[in-house]
Amino acid sequence: MSEKVIIEIRDLVKIYKGSDEPAIKGISLDIFQGEIFGLLGPNGAGKTTTISILCGLFHATSGSARIDGMDIHSHLNEIKRIIGVVPQDVALYPTLTAWENLTFFGNMYGIRGIKLKEKIAEGLSVFGLEKHANKKIANCSGGIKRRINLIAGLLHEPKVIFLDEPTVGIDVQSRVVILDYLKELNHKGTTVIYTSHYMEEAEKLCSRVVIIDRGTVVSMGNPRELVAEHPEFKDLENIFLHLTGKDLRD
């Protein structure tokens, strides 16, 4: 991990149309190049909203954000070339095969020809999906879909990758493969921004985490350091519950 700030967020506010309550209320944070950064929080905390603003899906109501020194409003097209996004839902075409999906998304990132074929073959190989290359997505299992969903966001070797709950609803084997690959990517220098509800997973994987609740940052730091700072709580999950409460969220 370097000291270079790759993502700089300042006083970010988002109020959705028709809502009085801001979804995020002036979040400020820095993410360093080469980090695996965990965005943690209960449902409705503002994690997906924050990621969506950084990816250009939403405009922030106020505040600013920069990725690799570029403002997300004025340099969105340049930013889109260096980020990869793995959405929470499987964002693939069900009637196309894995290969066809990856070819299309690779093309949209501007990759083509032999380079693309090599990248797709490599991605499928890493995740053990070679034999599923020509299978329609609709006929694949949830774990396979998740892995192809991940490959689609990595084909262009992004500097920064956003993963919105990439391991939700899959078996342990698929989860281990995905997390191992994220670590490998991170070793190669890719910054990983990751949201999850699995505290144990975040504690093992992330170099730093931020806990967001009701649109504000309630805690931030290295997961092990956070646990050390709160000796009364034995792990990150208990700290999380202490900070965000046990009330059920929408």
């Binding site: 969506s52 899906l57 889109k80 996004v85 693939l92 998304f105 093309n107 949209m108 329609k136």
Partner: protein, 433 residues
């Protein structure tokens, strides 16, 4: 550019993979066009061909008028005349009851003595004329006004179309006028014979001397006869073409719901390229749809006795008109698909607006039959522009230059719709909609 072609390839694959949906895209509009053309052919031109409209005839006259009307109706090849049912002669009461129940559409009652009244009236008139020649001065007979008249009763089913009613009445008046003229001719012969015993009446009967030749000036080809086919086939084909709004918006909303569109928004590709790829692939679908419907009008519908569709000879003009009409339909679909949040919204708005635009555009009822206010509104419907363009190309042998106004309006409509969609996408997050 390769992003555009890649997006086109993706759209094509998605369409081809849904083979049943693709077949329905082509077959259903063809079935719709053929059924509507058949139904409307029967409904609108029912006075032109098929001698299947039943008419109950109650001939109480039993003389020339009744016989002539019966012969005239039979020889018109439009009506099937019933003077008796199950061997029993039809009476006034029976006819009225059958019409009231809706079992038959029309009944004609020719009252007893009708021919005698006409004959007497003609006799008086001819005698007056002859008296005027023989004794023109101080002849009181010349000033007698005959008030004799006959009243032929026609019962119509209340549900019958106004156009049919007026056409039937006109036919009946034509027969009675012809019969009166024949009687006048005959009476003159009789009176002249009385006056001039040496007079020999001509052996020929009175015959019509005024005929009408229908010519429809249509460029080089004056044989192009307007028919319901010429109106209906392009009209319903355009109606079906604009119904592309359903599969197109369905595809757009499905992409959004499945999340693939959200992923695309995070990629370095313009929404315009994605739009245009979708438009290009669906434009091919629209054009194939339209060609199939034209072929049905030209080759399949004539098998059912419907006049074959005339498409003229300006194939390049037709192709260009098909392209711009498809673009207009697809631009509209893109705008609806971008703004609508759910399948239900898109389907409800899409269907109702296409029905309204087609009705306004004169696809259901020709524009010239509309009230003036509606005629003015019709000029704002893209379906009207396309329909007028096709009619000009098919029937009036129009050149490409002749239909440039229609093409320009359709293209402008497409540009406005795409711009509206892009503007909406710019100010609204794809996740919100």
């Amino acid at each position: 550019m390769f992003k555009f072609f890649s997006a086109c390839r993706k759209e094509s694959l998605i369409l081809i993979r849904d083979l049943a949906g693709l077949v329905m895209l082509f077959i259903m509009p063809m079935i719709m066009v053929m059924i509507l053309a058949l139904v409307q052919e029967q409904g609108w031109s029912s006075l032109s061909k098929d001698p299947s409209i039943p008419v109950l005839l109650v001939d109480e006259d039993h003389d020339t008028l009744g016989a002539k009307i019966q012969d005239g109706l039979k020889s018109s090849n439009i009506f099937k005349i019933f003077t008796s049912i199950e061997g029993k002669p039809i009476t006034r009461e029976f006819a009225k009851e059958k019409i009231a129940k809706g079992s038959y559409n029309v009944a004609v009652i020719i009252p007893n003595g009708s021919t005698k009244i006409i004959r007497h009236k003609v006799q008086v008139m001819v005698t007056q004329i002859v008296s005027g020649i023989m004794m023109p001065v101080d002849n009181p007979f010349l000033d007698i006004q005959s008030n004799d008249s006959i009243n032929i009763i026609i019962y119509f089913d209340p549900g019958i179309k106004g156009t049919f009613k007026y056409a039937f009445m006109a036919t009946m008046k034509e027969y009675s006028m012809f019969i009166e003229s024949s009687m006048i001719f005959g009476s003159f012969n009789t009176e002249l014979k009385k006056m001039f015993p040496q007079y020999r009446p001509p052996k020929t009967e009175y015959k019509e001397s005024v005929f009408f030749t229908e010519i429809f000036p249509a460029g080089k080809d004056e044989k192009a006869v307007p028919s319901t086919t010429q109106h209906n086939i392009p009209a319903w084909a355009l109606f079906a073409m604009f119904f592309i709004v359903i599969p197109m918006t369905g595809s757009m909303i499905k992409e959004r719901d499945e999340g693939s569109m959200i992923r695309i928004y995070t990629m370095p590709v313009s929404y315009f390229i994605i739009f245009m790829a979708k438009v290009s692939v669906y434009a091919v679908v629209c054009i194939i749809q339209f060609i199939l419907m034209m072929l049905a009008g030209k080759f399949i519908l004539p098998l059912a006795g419907i006049p074959s569709l005339t498409i003229g000879s300006n194939y390049m003009g037709i192709l260009l008109m098909m392209i711009v009409s498809s673009l207009a339909a697809l631009g509209f679909s893109i705008a609806v698909g971008t703004i609508a949040r759910t399948h239900q919204q898109a389907a409800a708005f899409g269907v109702v607006s296409v029905v309204v635009l087609s009705a306004l555009g004169g696809l259901w009822v020709p524009v010239y039959l509309m009230p003036e206010f509606m005629r003015n509104l019709a000029t704002w419907s893209p379906l009207n522009w396309a329909h007028v363009g096709f009619i000009d190309l098919f029937l009036r042998d129009a050149t490409i230059v002749d239909v440039i106004p229609q093409m320009a309006k359709l293209l402008a409509f497409f540009i406005v719709m795409i711009s509206a969609a892009l503007f909406y996408r710019r100010i609204n997050s794809p996740i919100n909609s």
